[in-house]
Symmetry: C3
Subunit: 330 residues, 3 copies
């Protein structure tokens, strides 16, 4: 919805230079900016292009203070962050009205909060509880006894197994499956056949988590799988049973976490990383893309980048690659 | 459903010590056990905690025979296996009544066995055949002429392409896609364009297979893709066209099998493994996580672990890693 | 639909030897061929089996010219390509009649072309535009303002986010998610929390693209994600925000492309490859399975195969593996 430049500056705590009365209606890249758009400049070299663009206002760093322009400037020490926040205010995420689409099938025992939006063909099971202002997109299936907090967003065709619990403001993208059975079997040595080990544990996802398209997160076997507050999980990530993920963890696409792995808070995991069972990644470590952590290993080192399979500190890995390259040059 | 301790002991062929008349109503981890729960102890060190827990009975190994307790003990040489079996008896998987939900769309030519459960919004195509007591979860789409055996379980939002054939007791988790087109094209060298090679073969999945959430299994190009009896496939696994998988194979999450690969019985495949086209993994081999098998290779060695890309016996791989580490220390 | 041998020969521009009046009704492998089937032989050694098969006609190379047989032969310099084209003519892909299934929910403002097929339980949003003869399989959800060209094929349970644009003859397999949010956050260094960077860009997919089951393709952050004409994307592939993919690119299963990667035309990408952010793969390069391209790297070399992580020319990689093997033998 439209906001004045001054409103935005106040909201993101930026210093306003210039006309605060102009109306902003959206955000844009510099290249595509039109009247009403807000843009941002993280790097001084891009400032002239931003000023010359069609945008109505520019968020920039201190470096822009003395630039001669009539365009309103919002100075902020972290322009990209200020821009992200402004976008949250300017963008209206859904123009749908609260209510339950007549094609949705909601069990009579389900409890829905106020201003919930339930789209076409949604199925909501027995005793489900959904918080205020949550949006459930078309085709989602919410299993019996699931609990979904307030202001969550479910894009179409998400599946929640029975009993899964989500906090507030959780965003789940299309095709994600939450609470599926873990991969646990016991082999009967006499017959060689695998029998299913019970997968009846819980899955708890805390506030402000975002889960990517077609990601899969298994419930615990007997106990709990847990995703901590603020953690962000990309598309096609697999989280196995009993995994414990801390707060503000970032996990890029196609990474897999095996059963009972622990990932502490503030860890950053690249894409296609493999984390084996019972691994512990301690707080603040960084795992490079495609690295692999063997079973039961502990990875320790705040801010240290690990790479390769088995993962080592990146400096070691690069040295090894260099030695190898030298040996073949002889 | 509730069972007496004695019933469970008989069912799993355990030796009962203590009161067999107590009623069991569920299973649990030791930590969360409450009255009515059955727990198991695989490792003697966990026995005191199990005895002290709220559980009503404990499955344990021979090591528990002389432990002083009033709690009923079920002695079994493989406690974890006995527990898994007991769970199968105690857990009621679905409390839904047989029948077809009025929102389901079932083609008039489809044949459904007795006590089939068809949930909300399911679509069942022309001439589909579904066996007795099979459950089709909400939102599943079963393509024309598909054949599904008895006592199968389809979690919500599974897709079966036309003509796919499943045996009995097959479990398919949400989002899985069975029978999609393989990735086959022919390049026209004159234009550089790719033309689709026909993908009209079949997909056969035998009895007791379990398929994880968002896994994808392609039909044959002209012939058959086959998954053998008892094989277990984890989330996000990709199985290409014409692949042949034997019996009692275990494939962990995010592994991919390219076209025409053969995986013989009793093979164990870790997570994120890549198996290229026309590879043969012979019976009983073990592929470590993230390993890669290049095109047309044969992997042989019952019980031998292979690792790395290209995969070698793990001893070789570890030696190579050690040599590399030593060279960089100089 | 049935075609005479002569019609097929003319269509694929093959030289016909023998009876052109015979009717063909389908295609087959040599092994399963029955009367009415067309088969092909790419390799001279398979010719006797094809002639002896139940097939009614055989596409083969020049090598078959003087083979003594009464069976009609269609000589073509590229038998596999000719077979693929003939299959396109002989196979009827769907026997459904054009029309909108009564269970589909189509917004009143949506515009559907002529002979469109909309299957059971499809949801089509506001102001969506769908071209002539396009098929939308059961359970698909097409977001507001999406544009889908002519003769596209959507298998069941595909999700299109709002505003996604597809060209003509695009094929999308089940479970694919097109236009989901990219993985972009800004960290607030004071609190350690991640805030969502806006993901409001577009996704454009050009003519003749095919997208595999459960693949995920993110929209641009502020600008565009683009998949060029004729590109083929396999199952479970991840394409990040702002990625630019050229024409006639082939990407095998489970490969991931991070944000802002560029893949030029005619590139071939194996399975499970990881392409980091801002990488450029120049025209015609070939990336071996499981290889990894680190952030911002440029890969150059038409027809050159790259392998390993970080990816090098395959000759270098194999030399390094050989050196390593030799060192451990000492």
């Amino acid at each position: 919805m439209p906001r004045s430049v001054r409103e935005i500056a106040d909201f993101v705590q930026a210093q306003l230079l210039g006309d605060g009365a102009l109306q902003l209606t959206g955000i844009s890249s510099i290249r595509s900016a039109r009247q009403g758009d807000l843009v941002f400049v993280g790097d001084e070299r891009a400032l002239p292009a931003a000023i010359a663009s069609g945008a109505s206002a520019v968020i920039a760093g201190e470096f822009a203070r003395h630039y001669a322009t009539n365009k309103p400037l919002l100075l902020h020490p972290h322009p990209r962050l200020a821009f992200a926040r402004a976008a949250g205010l300017l963008l209206v995420l859904a123009n749908r009205k609260p209510g339950i689409h007549p094609s949705a099938i909601v069990h009579s025992s389900a409890q829905l909060g106020s201003d919930v939006i339930v789209d076409e063909r949604v199925v909501i099971g027995e005793a489900v509880n959904i918080g205020n202002r949550t949006w459930i997109g078309a085709g989602c299936v919410i299993g019996d006894h699931a609990v979904v907090g307030e202001e969550c967003r479910f894009y179409p065709n998400v599946t929640l197994y029975a009993g899964v619990q989500l906090g507030n403001r959780v965003v789940v993208h299309s095709g994600a499956v939450l609470g599926s059975d873990g991969f646990g079997y016991v082999r009967d040595e006499k017959t060689g056949r695998y029998e299913k080990f019970p997968q009846i544990g819980r899955l708890e996802i805390e506030d402000d988590v975002e889960i990517g398209a077609n990601a899969t997160i298994d419930r615990g076997a007997l106990e709990l799988t847990r995703i901590g507050r603020g953690t962000k999980i990309d598309n096609l990530v697999q989280v196995g049973h009993n995994v414990q993920i801390g707060e503000d963890v970032v996990i890029a696409a196609q990474t897999g976490l095996s059963g009972s792995a622990v990932v502490e808070s503030n860890v950053v995991v690249g894409g296609q990383v493999g984390i084996a069972d019972h691994v512990r990644i301690e707080a603040g470590a960084i795992l490079g893309a495609q690295s692999g952590i063997p079973s039961k290993k502990i990875i320790r080192g705040k801010g240290v980048i690990f790479w390769g399979t088995p993962a080592r500190p990146i400096r070691e890995y690069l040295q090894q690659l260099a030695v190898l390259a030298r040996l073949t040059k002889k």
